[in-house]
Amino acid sequence: MIRLEDINKNFNEKSVLKGISAEFLPGVINLIIGASGGGKSVLVKSMVGLEVPDSGKVFFNDLDFHNLDYSKKQSLRKEIGMLFQGTALFDSLTVEENVEFPLLMFSNYTKEERLDKVNSCLAKVNLVNVNKKFHSEISGGMKKRVGIARAIVMDINYLFCDEPNSGLDPLTARIIDELLKEITQESHITTIINSHDMKTVKDIGEHIFFMYQGQKWWEGSRENLPMGQESNPELNAFVKASF
């Protein structure tokens, strides 16, 4: 479980996150939605340690992430996987080497054991016969799947996805969504997806956070989304604009 307590973040005196508190539960898809510039990416980056909040706390199962000492923080980081918007695959490495990389750095597996694990992760994301290809030789959807495989190869407890569907065709986007749902439920991990794709919300969103101008504007389940109601004009406008 991940818990946020009153997270605030400013950039050059511009307030980007304003007092965000939330709880993200394991085994369900937690979706952070909202328009571009609403603070979604900064919030996710603050959770994984790529940004440090000006105030507030991020707890991973009662461990205060930003106040942990270096070694504890590094060891917690090994439980975190992240799928980046642009996939962030290492371009000097092949698909296989990309997925193997976290194991090579942080496990004591033999080469054979590492390859077994890599192949099982690649199979989980439905990728075959691409092990020796470089990221420039595969399609956008395949890159996302390699990114997911790399994120989950370390038996993680927390999975963060920044715009997993951006730049993908609708069919591939649905495949990626289903894949993320499957992994979350199978491994019972805490998955946080940052998205503005309402189709993702409709298909796999279980716990939804709507962010507006740096604030948590609305929180609830997919069924409670105020579709067409005028009670929450900001959220309603966002939902309406997506269809």
């Binding site: 090994k78 980046f84 290492f90 371009d91």
Partner: protein, 252 residues
């Protein structure tokens, strides 16, 4: 950004570089890759430029020493002096400085663009999320590879500069080979080789560390990656020339 802020950022950046690598095997593999990129890939350009520069220096020095300027009588100086000038200036200046200015353009720009590209494509963020010290992981192999390989390139360049001069003497007939070699021998000072090696190590460190630093803090897109490469080359060239003067003043 002010000069002193930039220096401060560079010092902080460097404080993260010299930390124990997470995995020696991975580090060794990266070191080999960088040595190949910096050394082998730069060999041809270093060889060509060294031979041509050596030849040009010989021809021009011979021409200056034998020219009738009206101030000094022509042929006042023995032609052996050409070999002496080419030998000393190759060891002290041409081999370390010219080679490193060329490497600033080739290696420096390439490292800055590579690291800058890693920054904008979130590869550096991916290392950080994994719990890897990205500064050290990316930069240390480059700096070590540079410190190992660039002095070797400079030594090769030194021999080729002298060889280029010899070739020019032979082909243009400005002097005999005997005069050239006698000049080289008569002026050889072993301390100059030590100064050349000091310059080689310092310049290698400047090229690799400054270019990685410039790339690491790239923000934006492809345009900024290009700018990082240009900035890196400019800063490396100015810093190399400044340290060239400092080392000359300190050790000669």
């Amino acid at each position: 950004m002010s000069f002193f802020t930039e220096i401060g950022r560079y010092i902080i950046f460097m404080s993260f570089v010299f930390k124990r690598p997470d995995r020696r095997k991975v580090f060794y593999k990266m070191l080999m890759r960088e040595m190949n990129l910096i050394g082998i890939d730069s060999l041809l350009v270093v060889v060509l430029i060294a031979i041509i520069t050596g030849a040009v220096t010989t021809v021009q020095t011979a021409s200056q020493l034998t020219a009738d300027t009206g101030f000094l009588p022509p042929n006042l100086f023995p032609l052996e002096l050409v070999g002496s000038v080419v030998g000393s200036s190759s060891i002290l200046e041409l081999a370390p400085t010219i080679t490193c200015l060329i490497l600033a353009g080739k290696v420096g720009a390439s490292i800055a663009s590579e690291v800058g590209n890693m920054r904008i494509t979130e590869q550096i963020d991916a290392y950080e999320v994994l719990g890897i010290n990205s500064v050290g992981f990316i930069t240390l192999p480059k700096i070590l590879a540079g410190i190992i390989v660039i002095p070797c390139l400079i030594i090769i360049s030194n021999f080729l500069l002298i060889f280029g001069g010899l070739l020019a003497a032979k082909l243009t007939g400005v002097m005999t080979l005997e005069q050239y070699i006698n000049g080289l021998r008569s002026s050889f000072v072993s301390h100059y080789v030590e100064v050349m090696l000091i310059k080689a190590f310092v310049f290698a460190f400047i090229i690799t560390s400054l270019s990685a630093f410039q790339g690491y803090y790239t923000k934006g897109g492809a345009l900024e990656v290009g700018e990082a490469g240009t900035k890196a080359v400019t800063r490396i060239c100015v810093t190399i020339l400044a340290f060239d003067l400092i080392i000359a003043k300190l050790f000669l």
